[in-house]
Structures are given as structure tokens and as C-alpha cells.
């Protein structure tokens, strides 16, 4: 029998990081991700790692920047207003091509908003987020197991592409407990000859994002673009449920996809040919898979806990190939399967 442990999303993220070889965590308290910071405060010390409760989100992301450029696997976590503050550092990480994992347990906004579950940070997570022309890998898990697995994977991808990777959760995923199969603790981590470790036996290394000479920055940006293209080619993840026989698809990610799945099951009981398309990687977004699904006669309803953000990506993917509509609840509103089914019937 596979041994599983019952843990919350916040704890799952923390344990996944530890097992992925992350030994540096820097964080600042904010609800609904405090249990993660608290978990790391004792767990990091237990495994001989470093935990710092920083003076601010800015400091936390810049400590991650320092640990990362020194060659270590490092992570920070926060929730929406705190992630806004971290955007400065995330832009520098992207510009300097430094790996890092950033967790956003999305709460409702704008401004201070409230601590209820929301998907209002989709644009921020998938469009770069900070200043400058860049992308971060962004995953939207919909179960605690997936949250664990994707956090674990995010460290590998961040190192592989030398790029920040972001996990977009919410208050539901942060707080809910589910049985999780844990992965082994990673012993061998990738070598990083580019890291700053002191120049013994080699020429000095420099990590920077400043390119004052005209044209040099453009070349750097094109280099980043080539990397992003590679990520788009290789790292798309999604799941299709009832793809073969459905004529109506819900499109949802994260905890909202769990609710949408409830609506699919209810609808199928009533004899409806209802399916679900669930993007797992939000950037890179599974445009082609969705486009392929949009054969003639099919309808799509995008369901989100916001005013319609992933909706834009679905429109880019499908265009005029099928009828697309949107149903969402902003400000911490959580739709029920019944509510979603009612919307399906309207269309």
C-alpha cells in the first residue's frame, strides 16, 4: 500500500520544497499562507536549512535573490498584496536569469481586499507581473497532491531554465487537508557554475540585469525570448475530462476546477454531455490543446473566481472556432456546482 500523509496545502508546499532540496526559505506573515511560514520556521532548522522571517516582502524576495545567485535552491511565499511587493525582485530574478520558487496563496483584491479564496492574480501570475519584458513559469494546481508535486517540480524547472517559477494557489488550497503521497528527499542537485561562490580557480562571475550599452539589452531580451519559447514548447500541462463525448466544456483551473468537476458530474447524471478542460500550467498556457478541442458545434464556459482573466487566454486559443462565454465570482465569491450547472443550461 502506498503510504500517504494527511496535510494541508500550506504544509504540503513546505514539505515539497524541503524534499526538492530547498534549504533557504524567507518569508513575511500574511494570511492565508501563514502556516507555510510557520512550518518552514521549524522544519528548515530540523533539516539544517535557513529560515528568516524577513522585515518585508521586498527583503524576503531579495534574500531569495541572494541565496539563488549563491547557488542554492530558495523559496518565498506570500499572498496577493505581498506578491505585488515581491514583483520588483521577481523582475530582477528574471532579468538576471536566476532560479527561484515563489508561492502565491491568492486572496481577493484589489488593495487589501480580504482573505477569502480568489483567482484575481491570474493576470499578474501569467503576464510577468513586474516591470520589463519577461515571463515566469506559473502552475495552478487543483489538489493538495498536485500542489505538492508541482512545487517539487517547480524547483527542477526553475533550475533547468534559470527562471523564476510560481505556484498560484488560494485560501482553499492553502487550508484544506488531503492525503498526499510524498516524494523522496533529493540528494543530487544540478551544478551551477554560473553562481557566485568566490572566484577560486576560475575567472570572476557576475550576475546582473543592467545592460547600458545600446543593443546589448535587446540581445539579452532576445535570448530570454528564445528561452521562453523553449518553455512554451516543453512545459505545457493540462487535463481534459470527458474529452471524447462532450459537446460542452467547462474551462477552469485550480480549486475552481474542482468545483467545476462537481458540476460536470451532476450534469452527466442528468444526461448532459459535459466535459472539463483544466489548464495546469497557466504560463505556458495550453493554447493548442484548447484550440484542438474547439471543434465545430462545441460550446465553452470559462469559470473563474474573478471577473474573467483566464477568459482572455481561452479567447486567444479558441477565437471564433466555438462559442465561448464566462461565469465568474470576484471578491472571494466561490461558485457552487449547482450555480455553474445553471449557467451551463442558460447557454
Amino acid at each position: 500500500m502506498i503510504k500517504k500523509v494527511l496535510i494541508s496545502g500550506n504544509e504540503a508546499v513546505g514539505e515539497a520544497a524541503i524534499r526538492a532540496g530547498c534549504r533557504y526559505y524567507f518569508g513575511y506573515p500574511i494570511t492565508p499562507q501563514n502556516q507555510l511560514t510557520e512550518y518552514m520556521s521549524w522544519r528548515m532548522r530540523e533539516v539544517g536549512g535557513t529560515f528568516i522571517q524577513s522585515e518585508s516582502e521586498l527583503a524576503a524576495i531579495n534574500m531569495v535573490f541572494g541565496a539563488s545567485l549563491a547557488g542554492a535552491r530558495a523559496m518565498t511565499s506570500s499572498s496577493s498584496p505581498g506578491i505585488s511587493l515581491k514583483q520588483e525582485g521577481i523582475s530582477y530574478l528574471a532579468g538576471c536569469e536566476l532560479p527561484a520558487v515563489i508561492i502565491n496563496m491568492n486572496r481577493a483584491g484589489p488593495g487589501l481586499g480580504n482573505i477569502t479564496p480568489s483567482q484575481s492574480d491570474y493576470f499578474q501570475a501569467t503576464r510577468g507581473g513586474g516591470h520589463g519584458d519577461y515571463r515566469t513559469i506559473a502552475f495552478g494546481p487543483s489538489s493538495i497532491q498536485e500542489l505538492f508535486d508541482l512545487t517539487y517540480l517547480a524547483f527542477d524547472l526553475a533550475d533547468k531554465y534559470r527562471n523564476p517559477a510560481l505556484i498560484l494557489g488560494d485560501a482553499i488550497l492553502a487550508q484544506v487537508m488531503e492525503p498526499v503521497k510524498l516524494k523522496k528527499i533529493k540528494k543530487r542537485l544540478p551544478k551551477k557554475p554560473w553562481a557566485l561562490t568566490g572566484c577560486k580557480g576560475r575567472k570572476p562571475n557576475f550576475i546582473r540585469s543592467l545592460y547600458l550599452t545600446p543593443g546589448v539589452l535587446e540581445t539579452h531580451n532576445w535570448k530570454l525570448a528564445a528561452k521562453y519559447k523553449k518553455i512554451e514548447e516543453r512545459e505545457i500541462r493540462y487535463e481534459t475530462y470527458y474529452g471524447a463525448d462532450s459537446n460542452f466544456f467547462l474551462v477552469a483551473y485550480g480549486s475552481c476546477a474542482r468545483i467545476a468537476m462537481g458540476a460536470v458530474m451532476e450534469g452527466r447524471k442528468e444526461g448532459m454531455k459535459l466535459g472539463l478542460f483544466r489548464p495546469i500550467s497557466l504560463w505556458p498556457f495550453p493554447y493548442k490543446a484548447l484550440e484542438k478541442l474547439a471543434e465545430k458545434g462545441k460550446k465553452f464556459l470559462v469559470v473563474e473566481m474573478n471577473l474573467g482573466q483566464m477568459f482572455d487566454d481561452v479567447k486567444i486559443a479558441i477565437g471564433n472556432k466555438a462559442k465561448i462565454s464566462f461565469y465568474g465570482r470576484p471578491g472571494g465569491g466561490v461558485p457552487t456546482p449547482k450555480e455553474i450547472l445553471k449557467e451551463v443550461k442558460k447557454r
Partner: protein, 245 residues
């Protein structure tokens, strides 16, 4: 024949972009000489700031990174925690350390991070062409205080060493100046001590250098050195502010 003077190994042969009479070149060289003398070049990691010295990695011949404006102490914290046996130092200007990065320097100092901070105080924003700095002295004219800094509307110059001295996490704080040869030699001693403290794991050390910025002060290089001595040191008295070693 015995060689008595040369370029430190820790300096590259690159020509600096600094203006005539600027203090950065002297400060860079003092740091390089100290690193050579302590034989730590191969285990030193420097952090350049946002400001005129952002290109320091072109001039130093060891591992260097740059940090976002004000964040070098947080970046240094991350590096030092990964490599506790390497020598990590930040090189920061007055805007970096005493305005946008006030929180970062206070908390790195308060944690007693075993790092070295070289603080260049020239009482003005140099790279952006002469706006008021947090250390601009009263009545000093800048492009954003045309009639001189007025405490009523612009507040008072911040004394970084004195501000940090109340924190239990700080080990060594000294203010020196680059206005004369004896003071430059004194500055080197202070810089050396700050690096030696780190080698001996004594904790957080900061050396503040009063440094000339003739272009933005509207003075000649000669007048700038006099201005440090006659004006700046009245607000920022030279000497050891704290030494727990």
C-alpha cells in the same frame, strides 16, 4: 628592484566612468587593496548598488552582483547564509542605504549579519544628477532643494552610523572621509578592520565614507575636498561611532 606600488589584483584594468574628482575610484581602490592584503580575493562576493557605482563589477576582479535599489543588505543576507565562510560586502550610496533601503539596512544590522557594508555618503543623488539625498545637509543646494535643504519642508540629514548604533546587532560603525591623504589612509584602516571583523566572525560592520561629488555639488575637485572638511564633517563628525570588538 623591489616593487613598492602597483595595481591591486582585485582591480581590473578597466577605466572608470566616474567624473573628475569623484570619490568612488578611491573607495574602489581602497577596498581592492584591503582584499589583496587580507588575501581574500578568491572568496569575496561584492554587491554593487543602484547609483553611480552600479558598474563596480567592471572594476573589481572578484565575484560581484548588483542588487535592486536599497536591497543590497537583503541580498547579502541571502548570500552569506548560503556561504558563511565567504566574505560578503555591500557597497551602497546614501539614497540606497538611508532612503529606499532603510528597512533592509536596519534589519540586516539588527540580525547581526556577519557582513561588511561600505557606505558612500556624498550628500546627493549622483547618478540622477544631483537631487536631495537623505544625507543632504541643511542649506545644501540640490536640484530638488534649489534654495537649500530646509528642515521645515525637507526634514533633516540622516546620520546612518548613529542611527544603527542603538541596535544590539551592530559590531563596528565608523565614519571616515576621503578629503585628504591622512584621512584616506585612515579610511583604509577602517575598511580593513571591517573586513577583518567579518573574517573573525565578529558580526555586522559598516564604514561610512564622506566622499566628494564635485559635479553635483557645483564645486571644483579642490573645493569639494574643502567642503567635506569645512561643512560635511560638522553634520557628520568623523570617528568611531561604535566598536564592540
Amino acid at each position: 628592484m623591489k616593487k613598492v606600488f602597483g595595481r591591486p589584483k582585485s582591480l581590473t584594468t578597466e577605466k572608470t566612468i566616474y567624473c573628475p574628482g569623484c570619490g568612488h575610484g578611491i573607495a574602489h581602490r581602497l577596498i581592492a587593496e584591503v582584499i589583496d592584503e587580507l588575501k581574500i580575493r578568491e572568496k569575496t562576493i561584492g554587491i554593487a548598488p543602484v547609483g553611480c557605482a552600479v558598474l563596480a563589477y567592471d572594476y573589481w576582479n572578484f565575484d560581484v552582483t548588483e542588487a535592486a535599489h536599497g536591497r543590497p543588505p537583503a541580498v547579502a543576507t541571502g548570500i552569506k547564509r548560503v556561504h558563511p565562510d565567504k566574505i560578503v560586502f555591500t557597497y551602497q550610496g546614501d539614497g540606497d542605504i538611508a532612503a529606499i533601503g532603510t528597512a533592509e539596512i536596519v534589519h540586516a544590522a539588527n540580525r547581526g549579519e556577519n557582513i561588511t557594508v561600505i557606505f558612500i555618503n556624498n550628500a546627493v543623488y549622483g547618478m540622477t544628477k544631483g537631487q536631495m539625498a537623505p544625507t543632504t545637509i541643511l542649506n545644501q543646494k540640490t536640484t530638488t532643494t534649489r534654495k537649500g535643504r530646509n528642515s521645515q519642508s525637507d526634514g533633516y540629514p540622516i546620520k546612518v552610523c548613529e542611527l544603527l548604533s542603538s541596535l544590539e546587532g551592530t559590531t563596528y560603525l565608523e565614519r571616515v572621509a576621503l578629503d585628504s591623504v591622512p584621512h584616506i589612509l585612515k579610511s583604509k584602516q577602517a575598511i580593513k578592520k571591517s573586513f577583518r571583523n567579518q573574517l573573525e566572525k565578529k558580526g555586522f560592520s559598516l564604514v561610512e565614507l564622506l566622499s566628494p561629488c564635485p559635479i553635483n555639488w557645483g564645486l571644483s575637485p579642490q573645493e569639494s575636498l574643502r567642503w567635506i572638511k569645512e561643512k560635511m564633517t560638522l553634520t557628520f563628525p568623523l570617528g568611531v561611532v561604535k566598536d564592540k570588538t
